[in-house]
Symmetry: C2
């Protein structure tokens, strides 16, 4: 199968873009996390995200954390300006922390990859997949699938602190090892 832009547009179900959707942005994906501090550490230190927005709702006992991979110098200082800026970005990860879950024993949330299934994973693409995987090993990050596991030797899956799968890919073909 070799698609072109034209054959993609004729796949059953696919419509041409309607003018009414002009300016729509796929802004974010929300995951619930057990321990905000552990997740913020993982996404900022291991994967290079920046915390771009944060809201606490003490009466309702939850907090929201918005993360994106951006140049930190671009993050607007002003709260209202930053809120509008974040809502216009693509590739934002929203983490919801329900207060108190961090002191529960064991996993709190479901990764979606055993029954009942649904959500599967998020994915980060990196310029050098082998170097990225070697660094994840050095940092002690758990793997769901190493590059050397299974038949697909050009993708890896690591796990975030809640066990959500994070696929790691490289846009260009991997050179022979």
């Amino acid at each position: 199968m070799t698609d072109t832009a034209a054959t993609l547009a004729s796949v059953p179900g696919v419509s041409a873009r309607e003018a009414a959707t002009q300016g729509f942005v796929f802004n974010h994906t929300m995951l619930r996390v057990k321990d905000a501090k552990a997740s913020l550490d993982f996404y900022t230190r291991v994967l290079g995200f920046s915390l771009v927005r944060h809201s606490d709702f003490p009466e309702a006992a939850f907090s929201l954390y918005f993360l994106a991979i951006v140049d930190p110098a671009e993050i607007p200082d002003d709260d209202a300006q930053r809120k509008a800026w974040v809502a216009g970005l693509q590739g934002v990860l929203e983490l919801t922390h329900n207060h108190g879950t961090e002191s529960q024993d064991g996993p709190v949330y479901h990764d979606g990859n055993s029954e009942p299934r649904g959500f599967g994973h998020i994915c980060v693409s990196v310029p050098d997949l082998r170097a990225a995987c070697a660094r994840f090993e050095d940092l002690g990050v758990p793997f769901q699938k190493r590059l050397t596991d299974g038949r697909m030797r050009d993708i890896a899956f690591i796990k975030d602190p809640d066990g959500y799968w994070v696929e790691v890919i490289q846009p260009t073909p991997l050179a022979d090892a």
Copy 2:
């Protein structure tokens, strides 16, 4: 609470970006879908996504569909070029269709918002939230939360064909109704 870029950087768990993460891109979110045609219709016609890549795995009985909100004129025609281009984008939605689920009765996948919880939703931001919601009503899209429901009058949630929640927001404050 009024954060600045500096207070965000000092939230517990948050690290400064490491040089080793240079070039990392939050590329995609993967959801399993019951009926590829119904989901492609929803994401392209209702939300303005384009199908940017498509792979069939007949032996393993599944297909992958990659969608992004892009100018269709930007989609590279060549398959290998397009694969690399898609992997470098932010805000890609990957839909996994396991062949045959479309003929099962009732919902096949779990939306993550009842037990066991985990994934919560994806979100699309739009330039005019009231106009977008009026259009969704006209198109017969089911709502999880209308603008007029509950206390938060500036966000809505619609549901995709599998019942996954899609939050809809506007970056700028809504004018009074």
